[in-house]
Amino acid sequence: MTDVSIEDDGVPSQEVEDVELYHATSWLTKYVFSQDAKVIAIQYACTAIAIGLVALVLSWLIRLQLAFPGAIPFIDANVYYQAVTMHGMIMVVYMLTAIFLGGFGNYLIPLMIGARDMVFPFVNMLSYWVYLLATLILAASYFVPGGPSGAGWTLYPPQAILTGTPGHEWGIILMLASLILFIVGFTMGGLNYVVTVLQARTRGMTLMRMPLTVWGIFTAAVMALLAFPGLFVACVMLLLDRTLGTSFFVPAIVEMGERRDYSGGSPILFQHLFWFFGHPEVYIVALPAFGMVSDLISVHARKNIFGYRMMVWAILAIGILSMVVWGHHMYVSGMNPLFGFFFAVTTLAIAVPTAMKVYNWVVTLWRADIHFTTPMLFALGFLITFVNGGITGLYLGNVIVDVPLSATLFVVAHFHMVMGIAPVLVIFGAIYHWYPKITGRMMDERLGKIHFWITFLGAYAVFFPMHYLGLVGVPRRFYEMGETAFVPHSAVGLNIFMTVMALIVGFSQLIFFYNAFKSLKHGALAGGNPWRAASLEWQTPETPPGHGNWGKQLPIVYRWPYGYSIPGAPDDFLPQNAPPQRGEHAT
């Protein structure tokens, strides 16, 4: 099970005999059933992106219906609700969580902390295949009688399992089964990410010398391990309600004139369990993005990250606080006002460490040697977008403001800004940044910049008008507005504009895919460290990193990963594993 190269005293040994490492013996075990974290990472990322594209197309269906109600014959109310549900669920869980933790986590953690691989490679492999199975089951719900669930991504009972909701026969069952599997798979992966960071760091790599990317992913993995059980319990109980007729969540209810056999269940209980997972989930997506953006900004501005310790502690503080704010999703569920007060206070308290991080990013940029490379553009785009989305979050975090805004497009605009667009910008930036390490070739800068500007401006064109629509009271999740007095006529024009923009942004992602595929064969050769970065993953002997990452000798770490623009140093950066210079103070 465990890596044999960990010596008896628990410290990874410096040198390994080649025979000790896990060796892939055939093509199948090298590329398909691989136990190498780097291959698993690419499998995770490709699966997540593929299912994410499905969700992107679904979002077009939603937008088309909103802009041209009834104009497209096959989008009826059921198809619309199914699209809303599947788009949300896929994007949040199967795309973002999987790509950040499964993709980047698997690739970067071992390389950044100087490990040869994850500590439990076999479990890691299993994690991916369970995830793939979960994804396939979710996709399969489009091919069962009644189609996928249309209950909204929150799957609230009782309506999720009642007739009249699309997918109440099979769709909801497949959805819940798929989520249960996803959580099982993720738990296996999460154990790996957490334990690898705790156990497999190379010599000299103390916790406070880890790149912030690792800190972000590590904290997010810990949170996910503690938050996903909430969803797990909710899914199991809802599945029992649906299949065995228990009454965990479903109250006594009359449906289509007939009384169902349920009695006394508590829908609020489901909401508590669901949001117990649901809120940490947004930070599970945001924290890795925070970490990566710190590294991107630091490298491309040739300056050490400002306030490293504050950044680490802010990540931990956000992680801890985010576990106790789930109630702010339930302000309008009729809970005790004192409870609402408690949740509003904790919610607004999260703004403090988050704002610290934003200040530190800005101060890092201040008077820095900024290189406007594609990753840097995406990092700056993230900064702006995250601040925008975060500010609307402060409005919604107040009970009194949330009550009228709840279930309007304002909420949709807020969370798309803060956990949709912002993390996706980081994902793109990170792919442009680490692509040279993964493939050994650079991506095309010119195409990358075109891709950035269309994506960034287009995303704003889609979601900025939504704030206005939400403020005038346009509700979310409505199939069509019909004749409503309070919605001004300008909403129609805005909706059409947003839809056209959404189509443009969606199609423009083809530029990115063209760039990624073309660069595999025709990109400029990158060399080992094209960005001249100081952190450990750029110091591997081979690029792409070979078997066991480090060749015969593990690196020794002598300093933190942000040694840029050091006065008096020969080069403008000092790698983490460069031996101490003469005249330097060695402890």
Partner: protein, 234 residues
């Protein structure tokens, strides 16, 4: 809700203590040169498998805490009616205590190198665990024979849910235990074997602790706690 509060206080205090021990307060990024990693009292780093198990136990404990929280919340409704508990649960509790004890004996035997005693204790633990599982099945049969179906009342549904979740965790543990027994019958290095047996013992102690809590819920010893929780909520 208060259950989850308690859980978080425990988990966060353990996590923060661990990070503090690993040097999260030290300004090691300001220093140059290699810094030795933290080592425990015996001069070793903790081993990866053990850390992995501890993290997994936190996840499992979170799951059971959430189930308990749900139990307390749902208990307050008008239709809650506890079924008479199958008597066999008392016997099962004894069996699980025996299994946990046997694995503890196996673990101490493994560190002292008493191979034969360790093997017997492992088998004893496995047999007692299987007895527990069959007993649980018997209890399920009892409930169903008495007409206490899961769909009939939330109290019954929680009975099946809690015992089922616990039994699944035990089955997973049994896979690991039989794998360990297979390792023990081969000529495995003493040291590695002792570590594996120790992990099994830790897991069984955890299962026993969870079972005792679940049992307390089912018997109704925790009702007062539920009342307090609900008062906080409403």
């Amino acid at each position: 809700m208060s259950v989850m509060g308690l859980f978080f206080i425990c988990v966060f205090s353990v996590a923060i203590t661990y990070l503090w021990r690993e040097g999260i307060l030290e300004a090691s990024w300001l220093q140059e040169g290699e810094i030795a990693a933290y080592r425990g009292k015996d001069g070793r780093r903790p081993n990866a498998a053990k850390t992995g198990l501890v993290v997994f136990l936190a996840v499992a404990l979170c799951l059971f805490s959430l189930l308990a929280a749900a139990f307390f919340m749902r208990m307050g409704s008008y239709d809650w009616l506890s079924a008479p508990l199958p008597r066999i649960l008392w016997f099962n509790t004894v069996a699980l205590i025996a299994a946990s004890g046997a694995l503890h004996v196996a673990s101490t035997a493994a560190t002292t190198g008493a191979r034969e005693r360790m093997r017997n204790a492992l088998w004893a633990g496995a047999v007692a665990s299987l007895a527990f599982l069959s007993g649980q099945l018997w209890a399920w049969r009892d409930m169903i024979a008495g007409g206490f179906y899961a769909s009939q009342n939330p109290a019954n549904a929680f009975f099946f849910l809690l015992t089922g979740a616990h039994a699944l965790h035990l089955m997973g543990g049994l896979f690991a235990l039989f794998w360990t027994i297979a390792q023990a019958s081969r000529k495995e290095a003493e040291n590695a074997l002792a570590k594996t047996v120790e992990l099994c013992a830790i897991y069984w102690h955890f299962l026993l602790a969870v079972w005792l809590l679940v049992f307390a819920l089912l018997v109704g010893w925790a009702d007062n706690l539920g009342v307090v929780c609900r008062r906080l909520l409403s």
